[in-house]
Assembly symmetry: C2
Homo-oligomer: 378 residues x 2
């Protein structure tokens, strides 16, 4: 990933993952055991366990919501024909089934949790895409664009309700606790979207505000994903809290990397346009960090972005004009700061695992997923 390669230290021996990119982050101060973990297999396991249950849950929706949801998940195309869409990286279900193993339970115990977090995640995507007016997601037209705003609202609502249903129909005390934690995460998700919307109308956003918003939008649900299987497996609150700390900081690392990819990512890998976040005038971490840094490049960037905000011709800007803005962000230190922030959050995430007693292979898998998140290219 360009953002991290730029600022990364030397490669760390012993962190190679089978079939994966070598992580470019330095080890945590107290290195966790880093056995060879196949991250691709770990992600695939979560996807394989969760998808049939997710599809069965979505099939419960009354027409036409079942069809609209199936389109959103990429299982069918806009004409209703079966499709094999890009369902995303599936980090959340991988974390949910892995967290069940913390308690010694089978990964299957985490499956209702994996399905519930995926349903909440996709509820928020459906509503956010409509609120933000985003026309594309995962290389396809968004639901509101294809099926209209009412269906995007309605199916989002239905997926949210379904998430609670999938958990609560287990009927156990653990399911009640898991739903409560998921509800807290969902409220944070909504808070984050509210902040995101309000920041769009402001000239300046502080680094702290940006981190708080990203913690809500990305950290909270990755936190719930990292604890939900354990809670279903009977873990106590201290264990769940520690796993949520891991997930929350993993989310912040994830989002910092996302923000780097949003500017300097390779369109071939990300599936997005070049300078994607700049085109959307997103006040992402590299931008707010560059603006907060001070100095000539920071001041020049501030002047240019203020002028851009008033420009009526912004959509027709050339590649060179966006490249110039990206260069100023980098010159002001926004790129390096964000890469450093990703590494910092990665360290906090991995250290949080120290507070939890768990089998060594499970710990190694959590660590490998954290490593994966900061080296990914998409």
């Amino acid at each position: 990933m360009p953002g991290l390669e730029h600022a990364a230290g030397p490669r760390t021996p012993g962190t190679a993952t089978r079939g994966e990119t070598v992580p470019t982050v330095p080890p945590a101060s107290k290195p966790a055991p880093r056995a060879a973990v196949d991250v691709t297999a770990l992600l695939e396991r979560g996807r394989t366990l969760a998808t049939p249950v997710l599809r069965a849950a979505v099939d419960r929706l009354a027409p036409p919501m079942d069809t609209v949801a199936a389109y959103h998940f990429g299982w069918i195309d806009a004409a209703g024909n079966p499709a094999d869409g890009d369902g995303g990286k599936a980090v959340r279900p991988a974390l949910a089934v892995l967290s069940a193993e913390v308690t010694g339970a089978a990964p299957e115990v985490g499956v209702p949790g994996a399905v519930a977090v995926e349903l909440v995640h996709n509820f928020s995507l459906l509503h956010d895409d409509l609120m933000d007016g985003d026309e594309q997601r995962r290389h396809r037209d968004t639901v509101w664009k294809v099926h209209g705003p009412a269906q995007a609202i309605l199916v989002g609502d239905a997926l949210f309700a379904l998430a609670n249903e999938v958990l609560l129909e287990l009927g156990s005390v653990e399911a009640g606790r898991a739903t409560r934690r998921l509800t807290t995460a969902t409220r944070a998700l909504i808070d984050g979207q509210a902040q995101d919307i309000s920041y769009e109308h402001r000239d300046r956003v502080s680094v702290e505000e940006c981190l708080e918003m990203e913690g809500n939008k990305t950290g909270a649900l990755l936190a719930a994903s990292s604890s939900i299987g354990a809670v279903l497996g009977g873990a106590d609150d201290a264990t769940a809290d520690a796993l949520e700390k891991y997930g929350y900081h993993l989310g912040l690392a994830f989002q910092a990397v996302d923000d780097l990819l949003g500017i300097w990512g390779d369109p071939e890998s990300t599936g997005k346009q070049t300078w994607s976040d700049l085109r959307q005038r997103k006040k992402s971490l590299p931008v707010v960090a560059a603006l907060a840094a001070g100095g000539p490049a920071s001041e020049r960037l501030g002047e240019i972005l203020a002028a851009d905000a008033k420009s009526s011709d912004f959509e027709n800007f050339s590649e060179e004009e966006f490249a110039a803005r990206a260069a100023l962000i980098e010159e002001a230190g926004g790129r390096e700061w964000t890469a450093g922030e990703a590494r910092r959050q990665h360290v906090i995430a991995v250290e949080a695992l120290d507070a939890v007693h768990m089998p060594d292979p499970v710990r190694a898998s959590f660590t490998a997923l954290a490593d994966f998140v900061v080296v990914r290219k998409r």
Copy 2:
């Protein structure tokens, strides 16, 4: 209420309620004990117990969602000044606190349930008003009209999440059961809205389809309202199911009356325009029943409504033109059928209470609320 007065039998002695309209529905086949119950006081009790807790819950929302929600509930006006808005009839909180007393618990035990059902109800209003493009609710501009579509989506989502939070933070097994029942009701609510939207695009809707839609949109949440306090008070599933049967059929009676008021209601009482549902081309019960009835008036009505659906001048129709349509609906029997349906559902609702052991004053209150629902004028 015009719809029922038209078709009602003689007034039944012994059903008078203090300070209330005399019920115009015949008694159930096995008359429930009908002590003098002050329905106004019953509604006021639910409102008084629930409102402070509801306001405290809404205060938890991050800005600007707290303000938008306060506007929606009528606690402040569009400029942010305190207001004493019309919060609605508050039948749901009255049922929720009453249902706690079924188990011998204090009405306060039902309060988190009352707040949760009010939150879910208002989540659905916020989203439905946006989906339906409705600009007015309770004599005021709707949230999407004042604060924009994004806030209507976001605050709706937040109220839905808050409903689960308010229940699940009780941390009890009963709270988990109550949340599960509320989730089932919410899914039905969403199904009903999906049906409502799809029916708008169809020429004909059967009476059965209309009843199913109304059962989902209105019956399901009144069902949950009628059981939630009892569940929180420790009632078993059979008791909760019987109370939900009461609430479901109460909801169908409620909606039949609403459909009558939507055509023949007095604008002074309802706060809506004359012939409100006809202006919106709603396929409500009197309309679908009239269309299904057959005969000359039914056929003539079908022809007129089919022409109306294609008319580009519909919004400028005169009072007389709507009055003529209403007269045809009545001539075809749609008004009388719907009034009869309200009475039929009222009887089923009250009979459902026979399956539940509960203190006599509680039974009398449930019965009085059912009577109130079918005689109300707004």
